[in-house]
């Protein structure tokens, strides 16, 4: 862990000027996108039994690879802990950080990074054991809390307990895996994290039914892909790859029907199918490749965290803006 930070720093110190150069050219030259993901968070980024990475965050990187290189499989994944992630991106070890990272002012403004959009609207919640008999987070005065180091979670938790005049003991671990182990061993009364993560950690418990997720959501956690500041071309590519996925869902273009949609007479569909690539520095098939290889946003959601997955998370805030949610992408034109 420490080693990679040091290497990152050393790299930033010595070869900094090369890393800041054109990411797009570097990606084309390497013929793969270097993507930073989590150390294992089911539904967002986790390796399956064959070693293939899967999840919503993984799909963002795959979409970028499909857009730039024409092949969604040309991605090299680097698992990172919450503490390592920004240094890895700053030092050029990765091209995109797609690791359930919350967009905040401090991170956007003082780390030399840019958030390219939001691929999941989340909020911080609490998970407790059923045996405790707690119905609301307001009953948790004096509890011990397991959480992961280097997250916005730590700050929200302190704010929430302070605002409600309650006390707590924070037990801070390095990875979310250790957090759930500590919770399972009874080190803490509750575990706090983004709600989506709570569901994905819950299925790691020996008896998932013994734990409940409390209804309170105590923060806004817009999660999205991050790139280095100062490379606007690459920033645009990542941002519009994500937007293409969201727009495709809105227009009803799926992995299955994208081939037939190519001949659509609808001008909006036609624009998404081609003609805009040049402005991004890509070829005209960029969005077609994304949808045919990765699918639209809704497909990615359902397969990884929704009804097609063990997590069974509802769309909620992440439904499209015209279906009761707030997922809204600027038009492609």
């Amino acid at each position: 862990m420490k080693k990679s930070i040091f290497l990152g720093l050393a790299a930033a110190a010595m070869f900094g000027t090369t890393a800041i150069a054109d990411t797009l050219d570097a990606v084309k030259k390497n013929d793969h996108v270097k993507c930073g993901v989590s150390t294992g968070l089911a539904g967002f980024s986790a390796a399956d039994e064959k070693g293939n990475y899967q999840g919503m965050d993984v799909d963002v990187c795959r979409a970028v690879a499909a857009a730039v290189l024409g092949d969604a499989n040309k991605v090299k994944f680097t698992p990172l802990t919450a503490k390592e992630r920004f240094t890895a991106l700053q030092s050029g070890e990765i091209d995109i950080l797609s690791r359930n990272t919350t967009w905040t002012l401090t991170r956007d403004a003082s780390l030399g990074l840019n958030f390219a959009g939001v691929n999941y609207y989340d909020g911080q919640g609490f998970m407790v054991t059923k045996a405790l008999g707690v119905k609301s987070a307001m009953e948790l005065d004096g509890a011990a809390v397991c959480l992961q180091a280097g997250t916005t979670t730590e700050l929200n938790l302190a704010d929430y307990f302070k605002a409600n005049n309650m006390k707590y003991k924070a037990v801070t671990y390095d990875t979310s895996d250790q957090t759930i182990k500590g919770f399972e061993a009874g080190r803490c009364d509750m575990l706090t994290s983004d709600q989506s993560q709570l569901y994905s950690l819950r299925i790691k418990l020996a008896k998932p039914d013994d734990a409940v997720v409390l209804p309170e959501v105590i923060s806004k956690e817009p999660l999205g892909p991050v790139v280095r500041q100062g490379d606007d071309k690459w920033f645009n590519i990542v941002r519009w790859s994500l937007n293409a996925m969201i727009n495709a869902e809105e227009m009803g273009i799926t992995k299955a029907n994208v081939a037939s949609m190519k001949d659509s007479k609808d001008p909006a569909t036609q624009r998404l199918m081609g003609g805009q690539g040049e402005k991004l520095g890509l070829d005209d098939k960029w969005s077609y490749n994304i949808i045919s290889q990765v699918g639209n946003y809704g497909e990615s959601f359902e397969a990884n965290v929704g009804s097609g997955s063990p997590l069974k998370i509802g769309r909620g805030l992440n439904a499209l803006w015209n279906k009761g949610g707030i997922m809204y992408a600027p038009p492609i034109r």
Binding site: M1, K2, I5, F6, G8, L9, A12, A13, M14, G16, T17, I20, A82, K83, F86, T87, Q90, T106, R107, A109, S110, L111, G112, L140, D141, G142, A143, A144, A149, G150, T151, E154, L155, L157, A158, D159, K162, Y168, K169, A170, V171, T172, Y173, D174, Q178, K181, G182, A185, G186, R187, D189, R228, Q229, G230
Partner: protein, 395 residues
Amino acid sequence: MSTQQQGLTPGKPPIWNDPHYRALFFQILLIIGLGAFLYYIVNNTLSNMEARGISTGFAFLSERSGFDILQSLIPFSADSTYGRTFFVGLLNTILITLLGIVVATILGFIVGVARLSKNWLIAKLATVYIETFRNIPLLIQIFFWYFVVLRAMPGARDSLSFMDSFFLNVRGMYAPYPVPGEGFNFTLIAIAIGIIAAFLVRSWAKKRQNATGQQFPIFWTSLGLIFGLPLIVFLLSGSPLTWDIPVLNRFNFQGGTRIIPELLALLIALSIYTAAFIAEIVRSGILAVSKGQTEAALSLGLQPNQNLRLVVIPQAMRVIIPPMTSQYLNLAKNSSLATAIGYPDIVNVFMGTTLNQTGQAVEIIAMTMAVYLTISLTISLFMNWYNAKMALVER
């Protein structure tokens, strides 16, 4: 004749051929080169960070931290500054280092002596201990003591209790905390007097023994002075001390004092691991004292335990202390593995959470490295002083 001599003495060579100046020249060149390299690295880092919009400088140390820390030896809350998180982490690192050194040294001495025991079972048990714990990576041992032992502990409601005031459960060890009442100061004064008196008695007894050969029961007298005297004063002043006993409430025990399981697990792992190395150092030190010394001591009529205490150990210390220093340094540096189980040491708190919230990696890692360097150099200095004190006095 004189002309011949003149021809034989080499004349002063030109300055570029003089080996002395030549060596100096290359040394200066090397220093300039090194300085230029360092300047380039620092300058390049700063300008790169500037170009990418990464904040630099130490202003962040006075900003509000906004997070909480599990164990703090100084008052700390989410309203405290990032600078204070540095001190909280630093103190926790020093705490585990000091505790670890004390426990590892005691345990290591016992095991080292035990391995030399004439009792077959004790010697073999010590050998098994050393070979087992010396050969398993420390990180794995830390995980073992934390997760395995944590699981074996009962929950808060089924705590193991001792006399209804000491409790042990998965959240740690709870003990009553003394709350001094009015007049407790007299007892504290009595303790101080007792300790000073014990020292005086000891030096008087030593002088008398050197002069007359008569022995004095120093141990029992000191015990009486250090514990007995304060006890009498304490009782006479009306027992002005109450205990804050931990009480189980909804989630856990409140009140009293608590040792968190992270500290316990880390302390156990670090001291057991380091003790295995110390035991071997102690054994080698004792074996280095020649057998003639023991034979001489015994023939002078010393008891075997006196022989060990007065003859063997003092001589063994000269062999033991230098390698012991490096074990202490290892322990101090290994304590940074605390971050793996969430013990809030400087790596976990400052290089972990603070670094991530502020993003100022260069400053924070430099400060953390400086801390470990300082701790290690301090231990080294102390051990060198102690080594010089214990060294053979040439007469």
